[in-house]
């Protein structure tokens, strides 16, 4: 593979560099500082503006859907009522519950099965390790569409169409690989000296894992669980084909939303539903920001 440049430097130092966000950098002059500030503002505004527009519109009277006023006007909560209105055919409450059931089950299965695999990939030396690591990584890049046509036929044959298991099983195909490689890269950075010490003190490998490593690994497992849950929560392609009205998750529900005014795209209600679906994720992301970033980049850059 291409080696871009050599970097003579100690191992510990680079790790500090990579993880310490608060390090003091070289002082800069005011000019560049201002330019950095402006560019940073542009980035933040670009990322937040569409989201802000969704929230503003969700609180706007349906008669003023296309009002371009950039702040809250014609304030109403009616759109949220429409979003949850089963009379109009919007089963958003049920869809939220479905997403929770599917996302929760997939996350739990992926963690139960994937944690031990991640441990093995991070800690053990065995033949074919990089092959298996590569295969699991490749599995996460697998196109969901390649699963759909055979599963569509299979689930029709065995009467599973529209059932929860028909939505949970395919989701495992991308959540499990994600779980394994994110956890594995977290595990590689843990203080395994302690495990050695415990084993010298007479613990078995299993005991050492349970009593020493598992408590230390809890934050990593938790972060991975968030990432796994979000990726399951956001899934649309498979659910849109294999779910029924009773089991459809929020992403599918929002895509087929009905408004209070017939024959008109229910923008304000959709924005309300979108806000409801997004706010928990945004809160989750803001609270666990640093760890989610660590998890994302661990899974991404470090494989």
């Amino acid at each position: 593979m291409t080696l871009a440049a050599d970097r003579p430097r100690s191992a510990a130092r680079s790790r500090d560099r990579a993880t310490d966000h608060t390090q003091v950098r070289v002082k800069r002059h005011t000019g560049p500082k201002l330019r950095t500030g402006i560019q940073a503002t542009v980035i933040a505004v670009w990322c937040l503006l569409p989201f802000y527009w969704m929230v503003v519109t969700s609180f706007r009277d349906v008669g003023f859907t296309f009002d371009p006023t950039p702040w809250f006007t014609h304030f109403t909560l009616a759109n949220y009522e429409t979003a949850f209105s089963t009379a109009l055919g919007n089963h958003l409450g049920r869809a939220l519950l479905n997403s929770l059931i599917i996302g929760g089950t997939v996350t739990i299965i992926a963690l139960l099965v994937g944690t031990s695999a991640a441990y093995a990939l991070a800690r053990l030396e065995f033949r074919g390790k990089s092959l298996i690591a590569g295969a699991i990584l490749a599995a996460s890049m697998f196109p969901g569409v390649a699963l759909i046509s055979p599963l569509f036929q299979l689930f029709t044959d065995i009467g599973w169409m529209g059932s929860y298991q028909a939505l949970i099983l395919p989701s495992i195909s991308f959540v499990l690989p994600l779980t394994v490689y994110t956890l594995a890269s977290f595990f590689r950075e843990m203080p395994w000296d302690l495990e050695e010490a415990a084993r010298i003190d007479g613990c078995t490998r299993v005991q050492a894992f349970r009593r020493i490593i598992l408590p230390l690994a809890a934050p990593a497992v938790f972060t991975t669980a968030i990432l796994a849950f979000i990726s399951s929560w956001n899934e649309y392609l498979i659910s849109s084909q294999l779910s029924s009205d009773a089991t459809q998750p929020v992403t599918v529900a929002i895509a087929g939303f009905q408004g209070s005014v017939p024959h008109q795209e229910p923008y304000t209600a959709v924005m309300a539903a979108g806000t409801i679906v997004t706010i928990p994720l945004v809160i989750l992301v803001l609270v666990f920001q640093r760890r989610i970033v660590a998890g994302l980049t661990a899974g991404g850059v470090k494989g």
Partner: protein, 340 residues
């Protein structure tokens, strides 16, 4: 956030595999046994949820579709098809004639073109903007934590919601046309709908790209820049000769991930432009075509999804083999803190 929550990042010096290396022989056998037990369940589960459908799709793709033949209106029983289904897509053959315009069969190469067009344009845009975002976020300024939180927002919003949100922004009477003072038909115009998909996708996924690049940037020691400055390198020179070569491994992996993701794009064009846009297939991707085909015949759909899978596989292979996007090696190098 408590101190305990930062454990994965805060431990400065994880032990490598040093002690194991000294007594490799005996340990490898023991490790191998453990590995089978520990990884086994994952492999079995993945074989069920991925392996089974893939094999089944390949077998099905060599069978004829049951049901009414679209051209002759006669009932077809199914049975072995040979490569008919593949010829149908690749050669645009419906029965013995060329697929009529408007039929799904005739849209194959258009969809292939759209898929690659979206992939090249979005990934190029996201790479350039992502590098820029990462460089800014790597600087020291007040409110940096705020910006880093802000860029996670587009990433966290489900793609289906993103599509609906931009569908509203892109409405003919929507806020974008209002701001631009234009009457662009973003979701139904031929090229406008393509750009609508590209803009929405860029907004949604650039942050992910920026974070991956940022992780690469943070591994570059300040001293390298200091040395560059002392040697009289300008900001631009420092970027091209120091930053870019050093983040190249992280960048290549990020690009690989995004390319593979973009090649299977479905949610955005399916919801934002109703799966068509323009004259009906301006934004149709391979994934959308597969889904459209499922209800018109499993076996043709299986052939198409197998083709899609192969296309993605070939692109991934080219990346890893010829462009040096070696995920596993980059990972190993970063573990050792010696990103080469």
């Amino acid at each position: 956030m408590s101190a305990a929550t930062e454990i994965p990042a805060a431990i400065p010096n994880p032990t490598g595999t040093e002690p194991q290396k000294r007594r490799k022989g005996g340990l490898n056998a023991e490790h191998g046994r453990w590995a089978v037990y520990l990884i086994g369940p994952t492999i079995v589960l993945l074989a069920i949820v991925i392996g089974y459908p893939v094999v089944s799709a390949i077998i099905q793709s060599f069978q004829l579709d049951q049901g009414l033949d679209k051209t002759t209106q006669l009932f077809v029983q199914g049975g072995f098809a040979g490569v008919t289904n593949y010829v149908h897509w690749l050669g645009q053959q419906c029965g013995n004639v060329t697929c009529p315009p408007g039929s799904l069969g005739s849209q194959f190469w258009v969809s292939m073109g759209n898929t690659f067009f979206f992939t090249v344009v979005t990934v190029a845009l996201e790479t350039v903007i992502g590098v820029w975002m990462a460089i800014i976020m790597n600087r020291d300024f007040r409110g940096r934590a705020l910006v880093r939180a802000a860029i996670l927002v587009p990433w966290a919003i489900p793609t289906a919601v993103t599509a609906k949100l931009w569908y509203f922004i892109f409405d003919a009477n929507g806020v974008l046309n209002h701001v631009l003072g234009q009457q662009i038909l973003w979701t139904s115009g031929e090229w406008a709908s393509r750009w609508a998909v590209i803009i929405a996708d860029t907004w949604k996924t650039t942050p992910f790209m920026a974070l991956l690049i940022l992780a690469g940037l943070q591994l570059i020691p300040e001293e390298v820049y200091e040395a560059g400055k002392m040697d009289g390198a300008s900001t631009v020179q420092r970027f091209w000769n120091i930053t870019l070569p050093l983040i190249k491994p992280a960048l290549m992996v990020a690009v690989l991930f995004r390319v593979l993701d973009a090649l299977r794009m479905y949610d955005l064009p399916a919801i934002l432009t109703g799966g068509g846009g323009g004259s009906g297939n301006a934004t149709t991707t391979l994934s959308i075509l597969v889904v459209d085909q499922i209800r018109q015949g499993f076996n043709s759909a299986s052939a198409l999804s197998t083709i899609t899978f192969l296309v993605i596989f070939i692109v991934a292979f080219v990346f890893v083999r010829f462009l040096g996007a070696n995920v596993v090696q980059t990972q190993a190098a970063q573990q050792k803190g010696e990103l080469k």
